[in-house]
Symmetry: C2
């Protein structure tokens, strides 16, 4: 099984997107990948929503991109006979609006100026991302989602799907996510944004024809990366191990392995990701509030009378979206009468645990999806 990245573009004025900010965005292109086959009733689809820096390449390898041989970011989960079984389900994954991996974002060409948008790109919300995904599913002929699944910012999209299009949703699996960012999560995002915006190469977002803010972006990624790990995992993986020598260098080179690891992660990210997309997506995550109509005219009340089933998953060592926030979500969903299962998985690897191959997660998701099919 190999896959191709495809693109859906909406440029008809009436269909194109009115954003939550009130601004209009056109054209909108969404990169997406599909796995398995849609049945004739259009109701065996599963939408997977990726996290902050992810993309549509959720599984398999590309058949038409020989230079990109890496399997998708959730390849252990998605495929024939896997937790999300592509022999049974038609799986769709879209790159989010505002990103830089094929969908329209701040690095795309602004038709009004013929130059990249930069900061002229309108602010987008999790709701706007969901609306653009809805257009792709309509185009593909999907009538009903067997499930909408996502971790982290992907989990926010899964939840937003449930309040915007409850009639389309049979089940949802929000993983390592939250109903709304805490002050701590906003704080980390704001520090990351500042790290980018103080880099003079950022140039108020207008850097696409010059060297970009790679150094600031690398620092932003280092901050993010620390929040995706955990104290325990970092002790296990790095502890106080030194990089090359048996003794300290007594200078500002990377002495400890953890320093060198973070520097590497930062500069690697700066090569592949657009700094402005970091700004837009982190802001969308900060704005997201599932039950607050400051953010959305929809709210949890829209779930009343829907019959979606929820599987909420958290991780013991996730301190970005800790288990207490998952429990708040479970309680909020239950108050609207939803059928909610909750599972806290014991894992020491922090927020990013859902990205690490784990048969427990595959079985949990596979079992839940089978249960939905049978009900």
């Amino acid at each position: 099984m190999k896959v191709s990245k495809k693109y859906y573009t909406c440029d008809s004025q009436e269909k194109c997107q009115i954003l939550e900010s009130g601004l209009q965005l056109s054209p909108v292109t969404i990169a997406y990948e599909t796995f398995g086959k849609l049945n004739s009733d259009g109701n065996n689809a599963i939408l997977i929503c990726h996290a902050f820096s992810g993309d549509s390449h959720v599984a398999s390898v590309y058949e038409d991109a020989p230079e990109d041989t890496a399997p998708g970011w959730w390849d252990f989960m998605v495929g024939p006979t896997k937790g999300i079984d592509t022999d049974i389900y038609f799986v769709v994954c879209c790159n989010i609006l505002g990103s830089c991996m094929g969908s329209t974002g701040p690095g795309s060409i602004n038709p009004a100026t013929k130059k990249p948008y930069g900061l002229d790109f309108p602010m987008v919300t999790i709701g706007d991302m969901v609306n653009s995904q809805k257009q792709v599913l309509d185009y593909l002929g999907v009538k009903k989602l067997h499930s909408v699944i996502g971790g982290s910012v992907g989990g926010m999209q899964a939840l937003e799907w449930c309040v915007r299009y409850p009639e389309m949703i049979r089940s949802a699996i929000p993983i390592a996510t939250t109903m709304r960012h805490s002050a701590l999560a906003i704080a980390f995002n704001e520090v990351a944004r500042q790290a980018i915006m103080v880099d003079p190469h950022w140039n108020k977002g207008d850097y696409y024809h010059n060297p970009g803010p790679d150094l600031g972006l690398a620092v932003a990624r280092m901050i993010g990366h620390v929040t995706y790990l955990s104290d325990e995992a970092m002790r296990r993986k790095f502890g106080r191990k030194l990089q090359d020598k048996e003794d300290f260098s007594f200078n500002f080179e990377a002495n400890f392995q953890v320093e060198s690891y973070l520097r590497y992660q930062g500069s690697k990210f700066a090569k592949r990701f657009d700094a402005n997309s970091v700004l837009y997506i982190t802001k969308a995550a900060d704005y997201f509030d599932l039950a607050d109509n400051v953010n959305t005219e929809e709210s949890l009340q829209d779930l009343q009378g829907s019959h979606s089933k929820f599987l909420v998953i958290s991780y013991t060592s996730d301190w970005l979206y800790p288990t207490y926030q998952a429990k708040e979500l479970v309680q909020a969903l239950k108050r609207t009468g939803q059928d909610v299962s909750f599972c806290e998985i014991e894992a020491d690897c922090g927020h990013d645990a859902f990205l690490i191959p784990d048969p427990r997660l595959s079985k949990l998701i596979g079992g839940f999806l089978n249960g939905i099919e049978n009900s």
Copy 2:
């Protein structure tokens, strides 16, 4: 009771400081303040060691600096009849070596070049800081420390004092500190250092005659500041409260109060602190390892046979140096036969809790110090 900042300078070649790196530093000036009177036996002294960005101004107000009317950083703790009672004890607080608040640091003039050291300043360790404080105490005629007390990086100094000069120490109170930085703590320090070093105004540390890396320094402080708070305290203090308006601005201005607070803290810090001092002091903290002779030829074994009493204090919501690390310290001290009391204080305000007026802390420290006197 008012106070003056004083300066001790050592510039005699034989007394001056051989650093742990093997390099020599001369002259060394240490800014210090004293409170109360040293008795004729020179044994009623208490040394207070300040944290990362602190200074010698631990209590009272200056008698000779009319523009600086702020009371010292631990004024609630230090003074007549307070937890650390200056009617009884002769209290000394020194600005640490490598800092920028009066003691020799990277912003001081290098006698070899007549210019500020910048990165020519040698790396200093917690042990080097302690040795320079020892010279000040010798100069003042202090024979014995009734106690050596410090929080955070100040707690590291207090512990280092106990292994370097056990014969001088009657008791020690390490607060909200650790025997050694975890990978997580090193990671946060490294991200802060990178934030400074990627600012082009940093200019490899040579910025003293030009505008400095204020933007990078502000980001570094924002990172630090988040680690000094806690999820709980930030929820209580900020939650998702908006700054000015009732709705989102849909731009990259500070929408949430927590964003605006962090920006303010960052830029305020950049006005008062030297970026190179942040680099040197964070590195010293990362290198510190109480029981590892990679760091110091001294070790916990040097405590064997000493009769110091320890009061180890941690805070429930401190996730920079969590209670489990305080317990590791307690166990390590006990293994060498020390008399150790341990207290975990319930507080939701994170690592910085020890800087916030709290009668529980004053009574705890006051009671412990009285007990030492009577033994």
